[in-house]
């Protein structure tokens, strides 16, 4: 598994859609980007290694894993859109802190979407990645789980 969560993880259960408040932030989650974890990621995405640097999408995967610790994403949830900005290259072996907040909730005509803000910082507190992820829960994409 890419992310081994450590540090300030909220012990409460992930919040359901109804409990999410716009602007609310969750405890940061620390991730260690070990060589073996990054190697597994690169194998999974069929990417070549990049001179000891962590693939940017691996950092985003860490941030999303952190988000899943705080936000209940029902089975069958899917991504609707993604914005990402890569600000600083990170070396394999680094430790990053992932911050998660709720940007927007949309519930209309059976639609239920959450826009999640993600930021990761390195140990020198410099911003590594900033992202906004829009997740749609199953009912909104017409999924029947019966």
């Amino acid at each position: 598994m890419l992310v081994e969560m450590r540090g300030k993880v909220d012990s409460r259960a992930p919040k359901k859609y109804e409990e999410l408040e716009i602007g609310s932030e969750f405890p940061s989650v620390r991730c260690e980007l070990t060589p073996s974890l990054i190697s597994r990621f690169e194998e999974a995405v069929e990417a070549s290694s990049h001179g000891g640097l962590v693939p940017p999408l691996a950092i985003l995967a860490c941030a999303l894993k952190a988000a899943s610790q705080s936000i209940d994403m029902p089975p069958g949830s899917v991504h609707a859109s993604q914005k990402i900005e890569f600000l600083k290259a990170v070396s394999v072996g680094s430790t990053i802190d992932c911050h998660v907040r709720i940007i927007k909730k949309i519930s209309r005509s059976g639609l239920r979407m959450v826009v999640i803000g993600l930021e990761t910082l390195d140990r020198s507190r410099e911003l590594v990645l900033s992202a906004a992820t829009t997740v749609v829960s199953p009912a909104e994409v017409g999924i029947s789980t019966k």
């Binding site: 598994m1 890419l2 992310v3 974890l37 597994r40 990621f41 194998e43 999974a44 995405v45 069929e46 990417a47 070549s48 990049h50 001179g51 640097l53 693939p55 940017p56 999408l57 985003l60 995967a61 999303l64 894993k65 899943s68 994403m73 089975p75 069958g76 949830s77 899917v78 991504h79 609707a80 859109s81 993604q82 914005k83 990402i84 900005e85 890569f86 600000l87 600083k88 290259a89 990170v90 199953p138 994409v141 017409g142 999924i143 029947s144 789980t145 019966k146």
Partner: protein, 145 residues
């Protein structure tokens, strides 16, 4: 990332980026799920996924974006890691039996002081030419003096 001008990709508006083609299968999706710890049943549980509107398992959106990122990395190297932006919409699922073709095209190249700013359109299609992902990528390449 400071890049000497000789290392900057020679790209002009209208130029195509070298595409990336990936053949999906359930094993690859499972491998990604294990690598990132995302075991949402829509990706890994064929019985669950068969009962959904998708009719079967679909790849993680982030797996498809990793293919897009690979294309951008091949062209822009480390500049993508520290000066890349991606804004995309997921238009259709990538099924576990799909072939995903990532393509890109340069929309604009603008020099701003010591930066060279590339804007590219990026798309992913499946083997039926259906759009899976569409959007825009921007890269700032910092030039050395």
């Amino acid at each position: 990332m400071i890049t000497s001008e000789s290392e900057v990709p020679e790209l002009h508006p209208g130029d195509a980026l070298p595409g990336v083609i990936r053949h999906l299968d359930q094993e690859k999706i499972n491998l990604y799920a294990e690598a990132v710890g995302d075991f949402n049943p829509i990706h890994v549980d064929e019985k669950f996924a068969a009962r959904t509107a998708f009719g079967g398992t679909v790849a993680h959106g982030m797996l498809i974006l990793a293919y897009v990122s690979e294309m951008m990395t091949q062209v822009f190297k480390e500049s993508w890691f520290s000066g890349g932006k991606l804004s995309v919409r997921f238009k259709a699922p990538a099924h576990s039996t799909d072939t995903v073709m990532v393509s890109g095209r340069v929309d604009s190249v603008k020099r701003e002081n010591d930066n060279l700013n590339f804007t590219c359109r990026v798309d992913c299609h499946n083997q039926k030419r259906e759009t899976v992902v569409t959007g825009e990528a921007r890269v700032t390449v910092k030039l050395s003096e």
